[in-house]
């Protein structure tokens, strides 16, 4: 038996992180394949440096954090919003407060931390599968050994890419959970507000994901 806060955090990581693994695996592999197909149609796959540079740049900087964010948003953003708004309408938040249990401590912080942790881990997982899928296809298309692409990946991999990828994932996880929690807790009296709030959580988070993506890229460009 664990502390309820730790239990809530692990539960959130399980629902947001572990349960999303199949979707992340499939999407990661497919995105890797799509990127290589696009590269091969534009520039061919004979230059392992070009292929890996584009693949790394797209996967680490853009598509990894963003697609992971999208998957978390569609799966967990709506779930968090719906769960909290239902709890509020059923007076469960009042029951918790009446028992001396802090809502922020027991409901909000574990969801924020759980979503942020999951976003970072899932993003890394997504990137690994995208790289693996992409390089496997590139190797098949070009007859260049997989190991050569692997070496090119290591050569072209920079710490800056990693920082940008990590920052985006962390910020996207925080944004999605924060907006969803806020929307969920904003419900007033009627059950009809529950789907409305879930929709607002998705659209609000999505807009912020695009906006933050642009802002982080601008900051990265400035400090390059």
């Amino acid at each position: 038996m664990r502390d309820p806060r730790a239990e809530a955090l692990l539960r959130q990581i399980y629902f947001t992180g572990i349960q999303a693994l199949p979707a992340i695996t499939a999407t990661g592999l497919l995105i890797g394949l799509i990127i290589i197909l696009q590269i091969s149609s534009i520039a061919g796959t004979q230059s392992s440096t070009t292929v890996t540079k584009i693949l790394l740049w797209l996967t680490l900087r853009e598509l990894g954090p963003f697609f992971t964010g999208l998957i978390i948003l569609t799966r967990s953003g709506t779930a968090i919003s719906t769960e909290l708004s239902t709890m509020k309408l059923n007076r469960e938040l009042l029951y918790l407060e009446a028992m001396g249990i802090r809502i922020d401590d027991y409901l909000i912080i574990p969801r924020l931390l759980g979503a942020m942790t999951s976003a970072v881990i899932l993003s890394i997982y997504f990137q690994l599968f995208a790289l693996f899928g992409g390089l496997t296809l590139a190797s098949l298309l070009s007859n260049i050994p997989f190991s050569e692409y692997g070496e090119a990946i290591i050569e072209n991999f920079t710490f800056q890419e990693l920082i940008i990828s990590f920052s985006k994932s962390l910020i996207f996880g925080l944004t999605i959970s924060g907006v969803s929690i806020w929307q969920g807790l904003s419900v007033k009296k009627s059950p009809t507000e529950i789907p409305q709030r879930a929709t607002k959580a998705v659209t609000g988070s999505l807009f912020l994901l695009f906006l933050l993506d642009v802002i982080i890229n601008l900051i990265a460009a400035v400090f390059k």
Binding site: M1, R5, A98, M99, G100, I101, Y106
Partner: protein
């Protein structure tokens, strides 16, 4: 332990003045909206329109949130239909406040929790989902949750709501058998004198 002076709320308009001393039992009969608000006011969950509430010698109209939460953990509330948290299972609901407030070690809480379930006659597996529990069983879990934290004040909030006559009698006799509440301050909120007959022998007419 609880003292109200000319307490008025949005629904509770009559201006309540009363004092419930340590170890005594009191019951209030209110319509649902008034009763809900009464509980919220005496627990500091809602600010009164006018008047004062003193809970464990603290003026709730002039108190920090931390102090208030600290006071609330010494109060056990049995809400109507149990007042359980829907995303937790029966056992998790039972042990939630005890674990959160660390009233004992997890092992002690586990042992005491299992004993309480047995004493209350809860027959289903402890990890049953709430959707598989009847209103009566939910109330038992809520009651077990209160016993587990060994509170100084116990508040019973429309506890007979949704129960049939037999279940009401069982709850009444459970209170009679349980010695846990004998020394506690108990405040019962009911919606009619009809339900008093289940409660009075156990709690009020001590």
């Amino acid at each position: 332990m609880i003292r109200c002076i000319d307490l008025r709320g949005e629904f509770l308009r009559q201006g309540l003045t009363f004092e419930v001393k340590k170890g005594t039992k009191a019951r209030f009969i209110f319509h649902k909206l008034e009763g809900d608000e009464f509980i919220e006011l005496i627990l500091g969950l809602k600010r009164p329109v006018s008047g004062k509430v003193f809970l464990m010698d603290q003026d709730l109209t002039n108190i920090s949130r931390d102090v208030l939460l600290n006071i609330r953990k010494r109060i056990g509330i049995l809400f109507s239909r149990g007042g359980l948290i829907s995303n937790l299972r029966a056992w998790e609901n039972l042990t939630l406040p005890a674990l959160y407030h660390k009233i004992a070690s997890p092992q002690e809480i586990k042992e005491k929790g299992l004993q309480i379930l047995e004493r209350l006659g809860f027959k289903k597996p402890p990890l049953t989902r709430l959707s598989e529990l009847t209103v009566f069983e939910r109330l038992l879990i809520g009651l077990g949750r209160v016993i587990l934290i060994n509170p100084e004040i116990i508040i019973l909030h429309y506890i007979f709501e949704g129960l049939n006559e037999k279940e009401k009698e069982t709850i009444g006799s459970l209170f009679k058998e349980l010695k846990d509440f004998e020394e506690s301050t108990v405040i019962s909120v009911l919606d009619s004198r009809e339900d008093e007959r289940f409660l009075i022998p156990a709690l009020v007419a001590k």
